[in-house]
Amino acid sequence: MSAANRRPVSRSGGERSLDTSHGTVLYLEGLSVSFDGFKAINDLSLYINDGELRCVIGPNGAGKTTLMDIVTGKTRPDEGEAWFGQTLDLLRLDEAAIANAGIGRKFQQPTVFTELTVAENLELAMAGNRNVLSVLRAKLSGEQRDLIASTLERIGLVALRDMNASTLSHGQKQWLEIGMLLMQQPRLLLVDEPATGMTHQEMAQTGELLCSLAGDHSVVVVEHDMDFVRSLDSPVTVLHQGSVLAEGSLDAIQSDPLVRSVYLGE
């Protein structure tokens, strides 16, 4: 199940030649995963278009996080295929290679490097050559400093720049992780429950941010908060027991009797 025995394909973070000639960045087809016989993902197929913002919703345990685990290489599916663009077989890459290919992820449980400062967290996440020697020699250029500064501003952590990340609140960690995602400049962003621990105002900001990213990037957002999802005004996919239950606009979904019965518990 672990990614340990995947072939690490060496690929530096710089190169970004993704073939999206058919307009689709992510193809997931017929995926299945089971944990000790429990099917967390069951014959799931999902396609994300280039530049699209997509919301994925579903009750607890529907398999949303597991889906992201598969895409980012953390979990290996028992069956199915996962392609990034036309040519990159995600199932053959390990986590680092997938990240370098241009898939960034924000975890449900915000994970930042607590012993580093906020700015250092961003510095590490910054796109660039990832091999050991270049990291050893790396030095921040003026441009990169500016990038960090502007990102800090965007995530509202300018004042905390040199604080250890361990001192941040849950919401601030969420922001920092979003900031790290921005620094990574991925082609596809997987954002797992970004709004947890945020105020209403912050949620609105996050929503705006994600919307502004769409277009240049593809964004997949998992969220439970329906108001937040509504604010994104994007196509919604409903996951239930590991497979896609419905797809469409939020309004259409909410009136779908099937969805109402399993998801809204009616």
Partner: protein
Amino acid sequence: MMNVRGGTLPPVFFQRLWRAVLLGLAVCFSPVQAADLPDALQSALEDLAGRDKVLRLEAVERIANSGTEESEALLQVILSGELYHWKPEDRFVRGEKDGRKFILYALEDGAELATVGRREAKKVSINNTLRGAVKSALATLDLIAPDPAKRLAGVRAQFAALAVPVERIDALLESESDTAVRDSLVTLRAMTLVSDETASGEPLMTAIAALGNSTEPGALTPLKGRFERSDDDAEKSALSSAIKAFESRQARFGMVKQVFFGLSLGSILVLAAIGLAITFGVMGVINMAHGELIMLGAYTTWAMQQLLPGQPGVALLLAIPMGFMVSASVGMVMERFAISKLYGRPLETLLLTFGFSLILQQAVRTFISARNVAVSNPSWMSGSLELHPMLSLTMNRVVIMFFCLAVFAVLWWVMQRTRFGLQLRAVTQHREMARCVGVRSRRIDTLTFGLGAGLAGLAGVALSQLGNVGPNLGQAWIVDSFLVVVFGGVGNLWGTLIGGLGIGVATKLIEPWSGAVLAKVLLLVAVILFIQRRPRGLFPPSGRSAGDN
């Protein structure tokens, strides 16, 4: 010829009694005149007391072949140099020197006869040649003993010397009814024939083939010996195929034996490692003091034997619960007062427990002894269990294997069928979740640690029966136990069982051709390589909590 001294019963009476009691029994006792030596013996003794060397040698043989009840005892007396000629009575007796006097006993029933001066008793002395003759005569005596087990041992005893003539063996075969004895007589006959230079032709070939199929470990020597000396081609090829057949069977049995040794080692490894695996599974900590807890168990056995001198068996049985309790309480104290303070920091815990291991080790050195102490095996654990002439297993290892299985079974029962086991498994799989449903995980930790430590104590009790008990006992086993845990995966009893037995058998199978040290090195390397493929062992724990992040 001989007078019956006062005090002994008249011969006639004795004869009647004898017949009355034993009449209905089919016994091979030759009817003996109790107070009289049979004539055959009497005359042989006379020759033995004479000076003619040839006659004396013959006399020994005559005694041996007389088939009388007394011959064995008589030969023993001769061998010990206690045979005397009581001159005034002209009677052969057994004499014991008592200062300047001799106390004489009757040969036939051991009754004390008289105490006489030096002049009245003359020692029948024997030289080395005679002594040798007496010895081999004594050995062949067993061949005709009434007890089949004794006969069997007698035949076996002949396998090395091969001094019994073929004709004699044939004669014995004729009257022999016990199959086991017959089989070994046949083997003996074949061995004798093969090592007899003059033998040839059909009988020889049959003998060679018979030896090739024999299960007697000694059968190889005559075959090989003849093969070296022989220059007949047909004979040589027969010999070589017999040798090959024999050796391959021997190798097969050697393999079985090696596997047994492996299982035995493995069962000890399982005992030693299982507590470690449980604590590691539940608490994520490696208890570096585990080896010392094993040592404590072994010392408990020693202490019990000191408390109950002369009853090693009872002491050992008592040591089982005691060893468990001693180690378990030390473990629980360690957990309560130290390890619990480091929860969630496994590497620090490793160092902490290592500190305890040093302290315990040194404590034993200082307060008991730096040297090994002697722990004895009770009688039911010594000796060996013969399953086959080519396969005998030492009793202590067999017992320990069963002990291990029993401990495993009890443990399995505890884990599957008791509330504690259920809670323990719950904490292993998901600590927070278990807490949420009301498991007091702190208490479970302490109890688990106690259980793990107690199991170490049991391993110590078992180990005390296998080798030296000393302050370094724990160190010798700890690395191996770690390997078992790493190999078998944690939190899974079966993993430990299979891991332990697997490592044990593998070690013993490599050992014959690599030597003990190299075997260990190879095994360590193998486990290090294995963990590359399966970083979480054979049976990795499953569930989300097991993954990092």
